[in-house]
């Protein structure tokens, strides 16, 4: 466990010493800030009806999905491909650490950093809470949904990073895989005959539910099991590198 944490710690440090962290953080805050302003402005209009005040913040708007699909592959693209390209993988893998520890250590770092990116938005919640009555349930479930879907896309991105030594290729692959998983769920709206089946994969509607305060077990199971599968695939891909 301490070896896993050492790997996570080094990765987290690498995030904060690279410009990517600050660029992503700034972009996320700018767009979320504008979006928050729009929501608050809309709430002041009498004719707009709202359920939970924060529900449109999570999943209702295209920018939310833009970030959810773009940010995870950008965070994960470097994790394995850069070690392969620079040759540090050899130094790392000849130390007494297992492939599982390497993959989980790196994944944990990405997950912590992703969580950190969303942390400043808590200021909006606090601010809104001071001026209006705010039900904490939907806000918390909104963050939970974001973290679960983020976890799944980060695992997808990490898997793609293990497939190539080129970071840009890893990012593009990660974005494609995450987008495919996302689009798959949208089939619910297009195929009414099999809508019930596609609903299991519909991250879009699942996230809207999370934003409303509905924690659906199916959504939790789907995201967690996909994450586990993608991480397992990453471990296998890392093992395979050595056979080629």
């Amino acid at each position: 466990m301490s070896r896993l944490l050492a790997i996570s710690g080094r990765e987290l440090r690498a995030y904060f010493t690279s410009p990517i962290a600050y660029v992503v953080l700034t972009a996320l805050l700018v767009v979320n800030g504008i979006y928050f302003y729009v929501i608050v402005a809309a709430m002041n209009e009498v004719e707009v009806s709202f359920g939970a005040p924060f529900s449109p913040f999570f999943g209702g708007f295209i920018f939310y999905w833009f970030f959810m699909l773009v940010v995870p592959p950008v965070l994960t693209m470097r994790l394995i491909s850069e070690e392969v390209r620079s040759g540090t993988l050899e130094t790392l893998m000849t130390a007494p650490v297992s492939d599982v520890q390497v993959v989980l250590g790196k994944y944990l770092a990405a997950l912590v950093f992703f969580f950190f990116l969303w942390l400043p938005t808590a200021a909006y919640v606090v601010y809104l809470g001071l001026h209006t009555e705010l039900d904490p349930g939907p806000v918390l479930s909104g963050y939970l949904g974001t973290l679960l879907i983020g976890a799944m896309f980060l695992a997808a991105g990490l898997f793609c990073s293990s497939l190539t030594r080129n970071q840009v290729v890893a990012a593009v692959l990660g974005f494609t895989l995450a987008s495919t998983l996302f689009t798959l769920g949208l089939m619910e709206y297009l195929q009414p005959a099999s809508a019930g089946l596609w609903a299991y994969f519909n991250l879009h509607s699942q996230m809207i539910d999370f934003g409303k305060g509905v924690v659906d077990t199916r959504a939790v199971v789907y995201t967690l099991s996909s994450t586990a599968f993608l991480l397992f695939a990453t471990v296998r891909a890392l093992e395979r590198r050595r056979w080629s």
């Binding site: 301490s2 070896r3 050492a6 790997i7 710690g9 080094r10 440090r13 690498a14 010493t17 690279s18 620079s86 040759g87 540090t88 050899e90 130094t91 790392l92 893998m93 000849t94 130390a95 007494p96 650490v97 297992s98 050595r242 056979w243």
Partner: protein
């Protein structure tokens, strides 16, 4: 009798259809310094990567301290200090931070960490750069940091892949002194294509060519094997060079005559003998008979370099081209 520290049996590695290492067998006893010698692309790095569990063998087996490199990989990695050919480090860390990170993943207990790190920093001469960013270190310091990392967990066996490549002559001397010192309490397997390095450091040499072991023994023993096939260097004046070459070539017992240089009417030649014939007298008589002046005559002992060239040259022409110089021109990490 204790089992050897390193045991390699029928070790083979393929990359696609290329056979990188074929049917390798050798063993290394505790306390030895063994040189792994071969031209670029001979399979040295591939073999070392198999011994450090980085690459699985295609067939055959290798074991370190009785632990199989494939099925007991973590046990092997705990016992091996490895300096890869191209030392790759995390550029964003400071030297001391890098060693702290490595000591954590190498399971060095927290209470011993500071002491171990201070020890390797001192031993590898990293004191001055302790707080420098790794990405800004010079080649020599990067190499030392790699070696410090290899020593960090005090492994019984050190595997060093071309440890002196890319260093300046002073650094090469320092590195060799350090390796010799390490050899006193570690078993060292060292790959190189620099011959004087092997002669200076190693108690035993394994010569690898095209993935196969072509010779094995003590440097002195391998040299002795050559002595038989030795020849002599002669300096002759009194006739055109080609005439002298033809005359000496005709001597019974002479295998080949090579013109090393001419000038001022003097020709310098190398005469290689067949078997262990001693040609000195015959050459002398030949010169006297023809009225030439013999300015110099030396029996040349075989060098390890001659053996290396003999063993690893496949085209009959141009042994000079295949002789290893001190500066490699292949980019690091290009061959595996």
């Amino acid at each position: 009798m204790p089992a050897p520290l390193v045991e390699v049996e029928q070790l083979t590695r393929r990359f696609g259809s290329t056979l990188a290492v074929e049917d390798l067998r050798f063993s290394i006893e505790k306390g030895e310094i063994v040189g792994f010698l071969g031209p670029n692309g001979a399979g040295k790095t591939t073999t070392l990567r198999m011994l450090t569990s980085f690459l699985p063998p295609s067939s055959g087996r290798a074991a370190i301290a009785g632990h199989d490199v494939f099925s007991q990989s973590l046990e092997v990695r705990r016992r091996v200090g490895y300096l890869p050919e191209a030392v790759a480090l995390y550029p964003e860390l400071r030297v001391s931070e890098y060693l702290v990170f490595r000591s954590k993943i190498k399971e060095i207990p927290r209470k011993n960490r500071t002491g171990r790190i201070a020890g390797v920093i001192e031993r590898c001469g990293l004191g001055q750069v302790r707080t420098r960013i790794v990405g800004q270190l010079s080649r020599g310091y990067r190499q030392r940091l790699g070696l410090a990392d290899a020593l960090l967990h005090d492994p019984p066996i050190l595997i060093l892949d071309e440890p002196t490549v890319g260093l300046d002559p002073n650094q090469v001397r320092q590195a060799r002194a350090l390796i010799r010192e390490l050899g006193e309490d570690h078993t060292v397997l060292l790959s190189t294509h620099i011959l004087p390095e092997v002669e200076a450091l190693c108690g035993r040499v394994l010569i690898l060519d095209q993935g196969r072991l072509v010779a094995e023994g003590e440097p002195a023993e391998l040299k002795a094997r050559l002595a038989g096939a030795a020849g002599l260097d002669a300096e002759v004046r009194g006739a055109p060079a080609d005439e002298i070459v033809r005359a000496l070539q005709a001597l019974p017992g002479a295998a080949a005559v090579q013109l090393l240089g001419e000038g001022d009417g003097t020709s310098r030649l190398h005469v290689r003998a067949l078997g262990d014939a001693d040609l000195r007298e015959a050459v002398f008589r030949q010169c006297v008979e023809r009225g030439w002046v013999l300015l110099g005559l030396t029996a040349s002992a075989g060098t390890l370099e001659d053996l290396f060239v003999n063993l690893t040259t496949h085209e009959p022409a141009g042994p000079e081209a295949a002789a290893a110089g001190d500066e490699p021109d292949t980019p690091a990490g290009a061959d595996r």
